[in-house]
């Protein structure tokens, strides 16, 4: 019974992390870059939105500003990576560390409560079904906009950059610019999800982004495993990422109710993601052995 009660909350939270995972999808799947900036930019989004709402700014304006702040974080990682030649993973870690200080300065303290009772927020865990509807609308809007963008000439050149760098340059695509643009778009969306998460939880916290990349990857992987075979349509793929986020949080809620030590949850998430990331590699490795064995038998 308590699981059923916890379900709406898990769904709402899963959808919010699904938005974040769409950001991860853009870098990890489309650009083929593992971007660790997100652990910081999700907090930046939360902090920017929290401080603005705290100072009386409209929540939707605050969310837009959170999105822009996230894009700036992505720009920094992009410049580290392209202009300064730093490997993408390290570039992301550097920005993440910079954002730690920046986030503290934005917030002014380690956490800031934004109670739905005092401030006019769009999403709150006090009204879970309303939260699901509002987040659902945001998800649909983001998927529609990304579907359009990646269908344009510019979007196609981003996809080409992630797929084949050498070919892209030979076709006159400014691959560095595409990488920066992709990182900006990704971190903008991640920061937006942070702004929504802040409202839902009723607080911005300097630590709320720890391990965000793992949850994002988990959502991408789960979504692909569940709906990957359904269609190669881009909108369906993005939708599957949201579904992945929801499934992740429903399972998360379930194991908590089973009485699992919550201290272990981050470790378990990471291990599960590691195993899923290993599957394609194992398939290649062991699959090869199988074929040789068969040939030897003949």
């Amino acid at each position: 019974m308590s699981f059923i009660n916890a379900l709406p909350g898990a769904i709402a939270q899963g959808m919010i992390w699904g938005i974040m995972a769409i950001g991860v999808y853009i870098t990890y799947k489309i650009l083929d870059i593992a971007d660790l900036t997100v652990d910081g930019s999700i907090v930046t989004g939360a902090c920017v939105a929290a401080v603005m709402v705290y100072n009386g700014v409209n929540i939707w304006v605050a969310m837009l500003c959170a999105f822009i702040a996230g894009m700036l974080a992505g720009l920094l990682t992009g410049l580290f990576h392209t202009f300064m030649g730093i490997p993408a993973i390290l570039a992301g870690i550097l920005t993440q560390l910079i954002l730690w200080s920046v986030n503290l300065k934005i917030l002014g303290k380690p956490n800031l409560g934004i109670s739905a009772r005092e401030y006019a927020v769009a999403v709150t865990q006090l009204y879970k079904w309303r939260a699901i509807i509002v987040v659902g609308i945001i998800c649909v809007a983001i998927i529609a906009l990304l579907y359009w963008f990646f269908g344009t000439e510019l979007g196609a050149s981003l996809r080409a950059t992630g797929c084949n760098l050498r070919m892209s340059r030979a076709q006159g695509i400014n691959t560095n610019m595409c990488k920066i643009l992709g990182l900006m778009l990704s971190n903008g969306i991640v920061a937006l999800s942070g702004a929504v998460l802040m409202q839902y939880q009723g607080a911005a916290d300097i630590n709320m982004g720890r391990g965000a990349i793992v949850i994002g990857l988990a959502a991408v992987i789960i979504g692909e495993a569940l709906l990957g075979k359904l269609s190669s349509n881009f909108a369906v793929r993005l939708f599957s990422v949201i579904v992945g986020g929801v499934v992740y949080y429903v399972v998360y809620q379930f194991v908590i109710l089973l009485g699992l030590d919550t201290d272990l949850l981050k470790m378990l998430s990471a291990i599960i993601v590691a195993i899923f990331l290993a599957i394609p590699y194992w398939r290649k490795h062991f699959g090869r052995k199988k074929i040789t064995a068969k040939k030897a038998a003949n």
């Binding site: 269908g151 000439e153 196609a156 797929c163 030979a170 076709q171």
Partner: protein, 264 residues
């Protein structure tokens, strides 16, 4: 048309692995020249092509295409002058994208990438006709992902992409080397057709002496970062593999050390 002046490129300079890949090379291509480039492993053939393509900057010398000095121009900007096909069939196309999407990417080479749709209905019809010319049945598979095609089909699509907006210079870097002989022959036929129809100035690196002799109007042989033999017109038409080998040992003072070139 294309003018290389005193191009030098040294890899790993001042280390034990120092290699002079291009040694003060000068070369002028006339408009409409179809030049085949041959030479042993490490002779500098691909290095010369990469210098023109802008993969890196030469240590010395200038590269000029039709009066435009492109020596310091980034690779993606000078791409508007060039059409390129690589040796590896995986390299020339984006595997995760559809055939028509790949062609649309190439059609916008040298043009700004805007927020208009990546591919228009009108283009789709043009692409269908272009693909039909390849005679590989690809005209009915516009939305197939390129990754699902065979090496020969991918190379043919790459060739179409390289030539579709009449580049000022076509660079072919052993583009048939990874294909089986029959497919390689087919891709070479398509190459000849496109180069002739488009009147394209072309540099084609090949490991196959026979192909180097039978294609194009001019042949260049390279060794140790230098051009050691340059023949065109009637004289080229009279070439045989034997005379080429003779020329090679005369010019370089060594035997031609590349089995692929002899067996191919």
């Amino acid at each position: 048309m294309l003018k290389l002046t005193n191009i030098t490129k040294i890899f790993n300079a001042s280390t034990v692995n120092e290699k002079v890949a291009l040694n003060n090379i000068s070369l002028t291509l006339n408009d409409g020249d179809f030049v085949t480039v041959i030479g042993g492993n490490g002779a500098g053939k691909s290095t010369m092509l990469n210098a023109v393509a802008g993969v890196w900057k030469p240590d010395a010398g200038r590269i000029v295409i039709n009066e435009t000095d492109i020596t310091d121009m980034p690779e993606y900007i000078r791409a508007k002058f060039l059409g390129r096909v690589f040796q590896d069939p995986m390299m020339g196309t984006a595997a995760d994208m559809q055939i028509e999407e790949n062609l649309a990417l190439a059609a916008r080479r040298g043009k700004p990438r805007t927020l208009r749709w990546a591919i228009s209905k009108k283009e789709r019809e043009t692409y269908r006709e272009m693909l039909a010319q390849l005679d590989l049945g690809l005209e009915d598979r516009l939305t197939t992902k390129v990754g699902l095609l065979s090496g020969g089909q991918r190379q043919a699509v790459a060739l179409l992409m390289a030539t579709m907006n009449n580049p000022q210079l076509l660079l072919l870097d052993e583009h048939t080397a990874a294909l089986d002989p029959k497919t390689a022959q087919k891709v070479l036929e398509i190459t000849d057709k496109f180069v002739l129809e488009g009147h394209l100035t072309t540099l084609m690196v090949t490991h196959n002496m026979r192909d180097a002799i039978t294609h194009g109007n001019r042949l260049i042989m390279m060794n140790a970062g230098k051009i050691i033999f340059d023949v065109s017109g009637e004289e080229k038409q009279k070439l045989t593999v034997e005379t080429l080998l003779e020329q090679f040992s005369k010019a370089s003072g060594t035997e031609f050390a590349n089995d692929r070139a002899l067996l191919g």
